[in-house]
Symmetry: C2
Subunit: 200 residues, 2 copies
């Protein structure tokens, strides 16, 4: 398959790239910089330009998303909008515009995380965006045109991220980033839709 991988330079993106290559897929990479295509997924115009460059794809896999991490009482209204734009609006935009650039039976695979179900302090904007996307995926699954599918991978904290995030996710059992990458393969090569693949 020809697969568009957005967020390809990140920790998860690199693992997904490796897993997809190992399965023999052609991967077109996109990210803010350092990939085949430069894209800012929070900007609909940039997303449009990306899809014009990719041509028709068999699958879209996103590993990118950004939210502010702050105590609830220190959030400004700009932080809330930035969190919604950085991980919810952006991912909806990849799907909304992507349907016209993906083949019949194509799949979309988005990213959320454990904070939609198990919150931690300073993570309320991640919870907000993750919850939005998990519910959106269930909804989009029954509306996507051309028998296209959509799922989301929702991992807990990565083993590889524990040095940086271990104090926030204290007591959480981490998973290797490769386990989350396998969930992308499952979404892309499998036939389910509307699923939240919990990896924990």
């Amino acid at each position: 398959m020809k697969i568009l991988l957005i967020g390809a330079t990140g920790k998860l993106g690199r693992a997904v790239h490796e897993a997809l290559r190992a399965r023999g897929h052609e991967v077109v990479t996109a990210s803010r910089n350092g990939s085949d295509i430069s894209v800012d997924i929070t900007d609909p115009e940039s997303v449009r330009a990306m899809y014009e460059k990719t041509g028709r794809v068999d699958a879209v896999a996103n590993t990118a998303g950004w939210v502010p991490w702050k105590p609830l009482t220190e959030l400004g209204s700009g932080d809330v909008m930035a969190g919604l734009r950085g991980k919810a609006f952006s991912q909806v935009e990849l799907v909304r515009q992507g349907t016209a650039h993906a083949v019949e039976d194509a799949s979309f695979t988005l990213i959320t995380g454990v904070l939609s179900r198990d919150p931690v302090r300073t993570g309320s904007m991640a919870s907000l965006a993750n919850g939005a996307i998990e519910a959106f995926v269930r909804a989009a699954a029954i509306e996507l045109p051309h028998r296209q599918r959509i799922n989301v991978v929702s991992p807990t904290v990565f083993t590889e991220s524990m040095p940086a995030y271990g104090e926030i996710f204290v007591g959480f059992e981490p998973v290797p980033v490769a386990a989350a990458a396998r969930a992308y393969v499952r979404s892309i090569e499998g036939h389910q839709t509307g699923q939240v693949y919990v990896v924990e």
Copy 2:
């Protein structure tokens, strides 16, 4: 208790108002117009002005929220942002600003609905916003200052709305709006936090 009720002129707002009055509470009403206080909850400045007028409250109950209803393939990026702003950003704003205007042990009760779990066609923006708020409530519950609490009421379609929405929610078992109003009373007078009160 002195309770700020936002969305007081809507179908659900009127039922919550009646239920709170029946329990002997003092209810300060707010809505776009026709209430004690006029407010546009999508505008942080308008929310600020509302809280300045209410003075300190014992509980904040919101029944207001708006999202566009459109087939997925007809949504523009402006619709997505409007949905996020109308029912997710707006409700976070009520909490974010509200903590400073609510007493110790005060409660916030927000509104979502069945589409976070069971989608219908044209409802993807409602699903998106509902999922965001349900996850946010779980997160905010572990961060709110002053022992304040937060819950969300998530009803299925109302019996009273079936004439207008029956064709969208075909086969759904509706609930009377009064049942959802009782969930607000439960949230406000009870002691739980971080809960999604499913009413279906």
